[in-house]
Every structure is written in structure tokens, then in C-alpha cells.
């Protein structure tokens, strides 16, 4: 049998083939209406070291960035956004050092949200690292955002918060990368 995902009809999958699947959907969370924040619990565990998180099909009441914290921690988040305009020109760097959250983790407007980030080892008792995309569709810029939470706390969940206003609808999906 070919390496997944080229399965053939009626094929029986072996443990070895299933164990070769690299990304698993860990948790799906539907976002309510007019929520100031959404906490997703029970997402991280010993099953996976690293995770991919995507929030799509929602909207925000105000145009702006989405922010993230892990667990109940509100200190020690550092990240740097490097962004450029769709029209071109020089890149700009925005730093966020030892802050209360990771900022620029996503972007929202009354038309859509864009959020796609990865967390490295949030459940392990080591520093948690983050990589995210920052795609603005109203501000006409896009960039990459990377950072660290400089503690050794083990986390099982996270909270998404708009910089201002509320979120409505859409789905947050948490995927685990197979160790």
C-alpha cells in the first residue's frame, strides 16, 4: 500500500500506517455570540508535544488583532511581529516583551477572522514557543509572529481575546502533531 494519504478503496489500514499519520484533530470548539473571550480547555496533554490551532469562519465586532494566553498566566509573553504591506516596501517589526499576552495572534473584522498558530511543548514543563501568521484583510498588511512564554508551567488550554470588542461564531480547531 502506498504511503498515506493515497489509500485505495477497501484497504485495511495497519497500525504502522495509522501511526504514520502526522496530524490529529484533538479538539473542536464552536465560538458563541458576542463573546469577549473564548477559553479552550483540555486541549494539550502528554499525547502530543506540539500543536496547530486554527480559528476560522467567525467574525469580530471591531476590526483588530486577536490575542492569546495559556492557562491563567498573564505575564511573561514575548513575541515579535514582522510585517509588510501588500503594496510592498520595507518590513516593520513590532515587539511585545514580557507582556500579559501574545498579541497579533490573529486578526478579525465584521467580515472574517484569520488565525493560525502553532504551539511547541505547551504541556511540557519547559518554555512554550509560538509561531503564528498575522493576516490583515482590512489593514492591508501581513506578517509572521514568533515568540516565547518564559516559564516552565504545564498548560492544558488557552484563551483567545480580541484587543477590543467581541467575537461571534466560527470554529476553533486544535490539532496535535504526532510525536
Amino acid at each position: 500500500m502506498a504511503t498515506p494519504p493515497d489509500f485505495s478503496s477497501g484497504a485495511v489500514l495497519t497500525a504502522a500506517q495509522m501511526n504514520a499519520v502526522g496530524l490529529w484533530l484533538v479538539k473542536t470548539q464552536t465560538v458563541g455570540t458576542a463573546v469577549a473571550s473564548v477559553a479552550v480547555t483540555g486541549a494539550f496533554s502528554t499525547d502530543y508535544d506540539n500543536y496547530k490551532i486554527v480559528y476560522s469562519n467567525g467574525v469580530t465586532s471591531a476590526t483588530g488583532e486577536l490575542r492569546v494566553i495559556l492557562g491563567a498566566t498573564t505575564a511573561g509573553y514575548s513575541n515579535a511581529l514582522v510585517y509588510g504591506a501588500y503594496a510592498g516596501g520595507a518590513a516593520t517589526v513590532v515587539g511585545n516583551a514580557a507582556a500579559a499576552n501574545w498579541n497579533f495572534m490573529g486578526y478579525g473584522s465584521t467580515g472574517a477572522v484569520s488565525m493560525n498558530f502553532e504551539l511547541y511543548q505547551p504541556f511540557l514543563t519547559k518554555n512554550t514557543f509560538m509561531s503564528s501568521t498575522h493576516i490583515q484583510f482590512a489593514g492591508l498588511v501581513a506578517g509572521t509572529n514568533n515568540g516565547v512564554l518564559a516559564n516552565t508551567t504545564s498548560y492544558t488550554g488557552f484563551t483567545i481575546t480580541p484587543a477590543s470588542g467581541t467575537m461571534t461564531g466560527g470554529t476553533i480547531r486544535v490539532y496535535g502533531y504526532r510525536n
Binding site: Q29, T30, V31, G32, T33, A34, V35, A36, S37, V38, A39, V40, T41, G42, S61, A62, G64, E65, L81, Y83, T92, V94, N103, F104, Q136, G139, V141, A163, S164, G165, T166
Partner: protein, 47 residues
Amino acid sequence: MTIDEYKALYPQDAVYIQVDDTERLMTDEEYEAWVAEGVYNSNHPLP
């Protein structure tokens, strides 16, 4: 945007905190802190 404008836009009885599938209204203290941060961020937009 002022605090009063923000509160008019987002009344305390119409904004929720969601934890997994459970939603609740904010306490007075939570709401005041949320309004203050939202107003600040509205008035100091980053890129």
C-alpha cells in the same frame, strides 16, 4: 472612543465569557477591566 461609548456599544448584559461550551456574563469587576482595556486598545490601534 470613550468608556461610556464603549459601554453603550457593549452593554454588560450582552457580552459573554466563554469557557468551552459554557457562556456567562461578566462580573462588575471583570466588565470594568474589559471595558478599560478595550477602550485603550481602540484608541491605540497597532498595525
